[in-house]
């Protein structure tokens, strides 16, 4: 365990992240990249992009609060050190997605009202379940909720968004690819750290499984809300491209129902296998209304 934790050094984080894949980027993308005119010049497309980006900001604000809150709850200094790097990663994610809102025409003065207007209530509930554990100083439940459930969700959503935007919107795709690289470290820490801790604290399993069940309920409700509302559907779609293929679905031609299905199946499938690896049994949530 000590050997595993020794890898999560700030030196390694600097070599991989700011001196590695983020070098020469501006807010996570290449300096000469911009949002495409098809989004900026169409009110419906721009609103859909704002709505999607608000979801990312809300999720990342939750991750920032959780990772920073878990530093003081961590039982050892290597974990605190890793969570300090994760805190900076999450703060960067909040910043780059907030910057995208500005690039889409949201002003600083109406940032918070825009987030309030478009934030999905089920995503807010999802965050509250996690932050309750963090506020209670529950390191084990907090890391499962943050680095396995939330990061697992973010990982799949970001991968789908990145694949769908690779040719249509390279600026956004590049911003997402940097966050995906960060998420790899976060899920790695979650699984490796929790895998050993669950074995030491089997009495915590039932409580953690209840938290997972509740978070999964709200996660599925977010997917249902995002894909079923007519006002969420872009009025036009980019031309089909081979690079928009993700888990057997062409994202540039898929219907909202097909996208919802592929994402829910991917995330739930990942949950089950991730949780099983660390010794937690997946609990099926109630079906969202």
């Amino acid at each position: 365990m000590t050997q595993f934790l020794a890898q999560y050094s700030i030196q390694r984080w600097m070599e991989m992240c700011p001196q590695g894949y983020l070098e020469d980027t501006v807010y996570g993308h290449e300096p000469n990249e911009h949002e495409p005119a098809v989004i900026l010049d169409d009110d419906d497309e721009r609103e859909a992009a704002i709505r999607t980006t608000v979801g990312l900001v809300v999720g990342e604000r939750c991750a920032l609060a959780a990772s920073s809150g878990l530093i003081n709850a961590a039982p050892d200094y290597p974990s605190k050190r890793f969570l300090a790097t994760q805190t900076l990663d999450e703060a960067r994610h909040v910043e780059v997605f907030t910057q995208r809102l500005f690039d889409l025409g949201v002003t600083a003065d109406n940032l918070e009202s825009t987030i309030d207007r478009y934030a999905n209530p089920n995503l807010v509930k999802f965050a509250e379940v996690l932050l309750e554990k963090v506020a209670a100083g529950d390191f084990l439940a907090g890391v499962v909720g943050q680095n396995i459930v939330l990061e697992g969700l973010a990982f799949s959503v970001f991968e789908m968004l990145e694949a769908g935007n690779r040719e249509f919107n390279p600026k956004f795709a590049h911003t997402l690819s940097g966050t995906i690289a960060d998420e790899r470290r976060h899920v790695g820490f979650g699984e490796n750290r929790i895998g050993s801790l669950i074995a030491q604290h089997p009495e915590k399993k039932a409580e953690i499984e209840r938290m997972q069940q509740e978070m999964t309920y709200y996660m599925l409700a977010v997917f249902a809300d995002s894909f079923r509302g007519d006002d969420n559907k872009p009025k036009s779609a980019p031309e089909p491209t081979a690079s928009a293929e993700w888990h057997g679905t062409n994202l540039s031609t898929a219907s909202p129902e097909e996208m919802e299905a592929v994402l829910a199946n991917t995330v739930l499938g990942e949950f089950k296998t991730r949780l099983a690896r660390v010794g937690i049994e997946y609990q099926t949530p109630r079906v969202p209304a």
Binding site: Q3, A181, E191, N192, H247
Partner: protein, 99 residues
């Protein structure tokens, strides 16, 4: 560098194993020295070579300079997980995380 920093992997110079010359494939998520040992996974239709295995934690393809065999230890630098290569029920080689 520690021993677990050795990217896929310390398989050694077993002459019975097919050897692979690795080149960078555009994977930039690790320091340059180690980039050739990893590539992005193309999804379920992506066919793996005998020297490749998927990291089950972060879904990156780990590449070795020799063909992989059950029992080999591999390391995923992007998510910092250590794994052992096993034969799955499907007969394919898979990686199992060592906690």
């Amino acid at each position: 560098m520690t021993d677990i920093d050795v990217s896929a992997p310390g398989i050694g110079a077993d002459p019975s194993r097919r050897r692979y010359e690795l080149e960078e494939t555009g994977f930039k998520e690790v320091p340059k020295k180690w980039r050739k040992f990893y590539r992005h996974w193309g999804g379920p239709l992506d066919t793996l070579a005998p020297n490749e295995v998927i990291c089950p934690v972060c879904k990156v393809v780990i590449r070795a300079t020799r063909e992989l065999r059950p029992g080999d230890k591999v390391y995923c630098m992007p998510c910092m997980s250590r794994m052992v290569v096993v034969v799955a029920e499907s007969g394919r080689l898979e990686a199992e995380v060592i906690f």
